[in-house]
């Protein structure tokens, strides 16, 4: 068999996330180049601060101002930075216990090499040039050999609180549809429709996905279907889709290709939208160079009898 199809697939999703009161105070403070922690009832100071004590689950909200200097509690040397990470030159991932804090914050440490990093070393925050109210307002840490910074109580009140963040995400994939769908897509480009038959129940699936969902066995025998088909049911679309250059109203239909036991869907053209009906006989229309049918149009044959397609609804 010829090679399976592959194509790049990019999934991008900017999540808009609202913040709770403690997260809001922490990120707002970062924008002012201040680091806040939160006190637990038993006197520990958590940095980065959270809204519930991870041990007791009590709601906590007493904010304290901690240092911008601290101590590395563990580290890992990253010689090949990846997309999105804080630095694009080799750096150390570090957990840093800031002065005044009892827990550690994860971030990057800008250091010349792994020999310059050790657990217990002193570091200081390097601030981003244009803070926005996000964890990345800390550009990274850098080595530091000065005094401990002072720690004070902080009301956590700022005039312009950050109430949300937009978390950008992008993941890159190489999509492959597998054996059965590859065969289907390749045939479509040759203006043919190819389904697969279930060896158990004999149904022909178009498009095939490699398995019969009723019997749970692999389909493999290829069956050429169509090109003609029957509209089994349809709807009239009145809302224009974003980035889609089709005038509304138009008809979107389930079409049972001749020889198929499963209807596929497609747009119906070449006929006024209000004249489309169940049983209408149609055939695919390819655009110049198209790798799949652009739409289906009436063949002019008499309508199919309901009995011939009622099982395919």
């Amino acid at each position: 068999m010829s090679a399976v199809l592959k194509a790049p697939l990019v999934v991008e999703f900017p999540f808009t996330r609202s913040l709770g009161p403690v997260q809001s105070a922490f990120l707002t403070a970062l924008r002012h180049r201040v680091v806040l922690g939160v006190k637990t009832r038993d006197g520990r100071t958590l940095v980065p601060p959270v809204e519930y004590d991870p041990v007791t689950a009590e709601e906590i909200s007493e904010l304290v101002h901690v240092g911008i200097t601290g101590t590395v509690t563990t580290w890992a040397w990253n010689h090949e930075p990846r997309r999105g990470q804080p630095l694009d030159t080799p750096f150390a991932w570090v957990l840093v216990k800031l002065d005044g804090a009892d827990t550690a914050l994860l971030h990057a440490l800008d250091a010349p090499g792994p020999d310059a990093v050790r657990t217990g070393m002193r570091v200081r925050i390097r601030w981003a040039e244009e803070p926005t109210g996000a964890i990345t307002d800390i550009a990274c840490f850098e080595p530091y050999d000065g005094d401990e910074s002072t720690v004070t109580v902080h009301a956590g009140e700022f005039e312009d609180p950050v109430t949300g963040i937009v978390a950008q995400a992008r993941l890159d994939y190489t999509y492959s549809p597998g054996r059965a769908q590859t065969a289907y897509i390749k045939a479509l480009a040759e203006h043919r429709a190819v389904g697969e038959r279930c060896p158990s129940c004999q149904k022909v699936y178009v498009p095939p996905r490699g398995a019969c969902p009723t019997c749970g066995v692999a389909t493999s025998e290829q069956v050429e279907v169509g090109p003609g088909g029957t509209v089994t049911t349809f709807c009239i679309v009145n809302i224009k889709a974003k980035n889609l250059d089709i005038e509304v109203p138009y008809v979107y239909a389930h079409i049972a290709l001749d020889g198929a036991d499963l209807a596929l869907h497609g747009r119906i053209g070449g006929i006024p939208y209000d004249q489309v009906r169940m049983g209408l006989r149609v055939e695919p229309v390819w655009n110049e160079g198209g790798s799949y049918p652009d739409h289906y149009r009436p063949t002019g044959e008499p309508d199919a009898d309901y009995e011939t397609y009622k099982e395919l609804l």
Partner: protein, 354 residues
Amino acid sequence: MTSEAAPGPRDIAVVAFAQSDTLRTTSDVSEVEMLMPVLHDVRAQTGLKTADIGFTCSGSCDYLAGRAFSFTLALDGVGAWPPISESHVEMDGAWALYEAWTKLLSGDADTALVYSYGKSSPGSLRDVLTRQLDPYYVAPLWPDSVALAALQAQALIDAGDTDEPELAAIGARSRATDNPHAQLKGPVPHGDYLVRPLRTGDCPPIGDGAAAVILAAGERARQLCARPAWIRGIDHRIEAHSLGVRDLTDSPSARLAAEKAGAFERPVDTAELHAPFTSQEVVLRKALRLGDEVLVNPSGGALAANPMMAAGLARIGEAAARIHRGESDRALAHATSGPCLQQNLVAVLEGDPR
């Protein structure tokens, strides 16, 4: 006690286990095409058909292959018609097995099919896994899975709990397996640093694969399997998500899960640990109190094959299969999820006395 007393909990066993080979890439098959032979295998071992199975539960993650609702397509491989009693967890299949175990305990079903699968090859796994992290303080920094494991490994080295030669030995011992489904086996160099102190040999291979087990209760289990692997206890626990509040050299969640599962009541002879990084085996041996007399990961564990979402279920399956074959009488199986062993499941399996 009167005769009116409520019946005790039902005995539930793993009666069959099947898995695919784990491969670096499987682009020639879709997820359902990869999974289906495994489902057929595990059912054939018991002679059960889809209609004979009382409950079906699966584990998978859409982010791995970037395919939304991929588990609904995977159901095509089960043959879910007429409609079946079915559920899904967006986790490793070990947690699907936990759900199926509770379903059987309740008496709602006598048999269950549990399966899970993962195709990591379409994406960049180290980056994909960053999306499971705290979205406010951690995920915006894109710390990849190897980096987080490396922070844990360095903490262990600093604490004197391990060193690089010991980590190399764990990798070598794991890959000395004869498991025919393993992706990486035989002599594998410790390699260069991926994220220091972890070298390539300390990290799991990235691969695609699937696993499935069948559970059965009471007499049904004895009918389906000559020597069922009885689940004597199973429990799962989670730790705080923030790495900076945890002691990365220990795993109190694994220890507590083991205690609740009864692992410390009597010694086990075998342990199948889901430790994707060599350093994590060090943590788990300590937390689970496994001495040198316990056979650890004869299957090679996650260092030999780590199909995401299936590797934890495969640990339970491998432990059970050793009991089926008479190679173990009492085994511990462990599964993990999240960064640095954040979440841990422990099951204790036993065979009938011989």
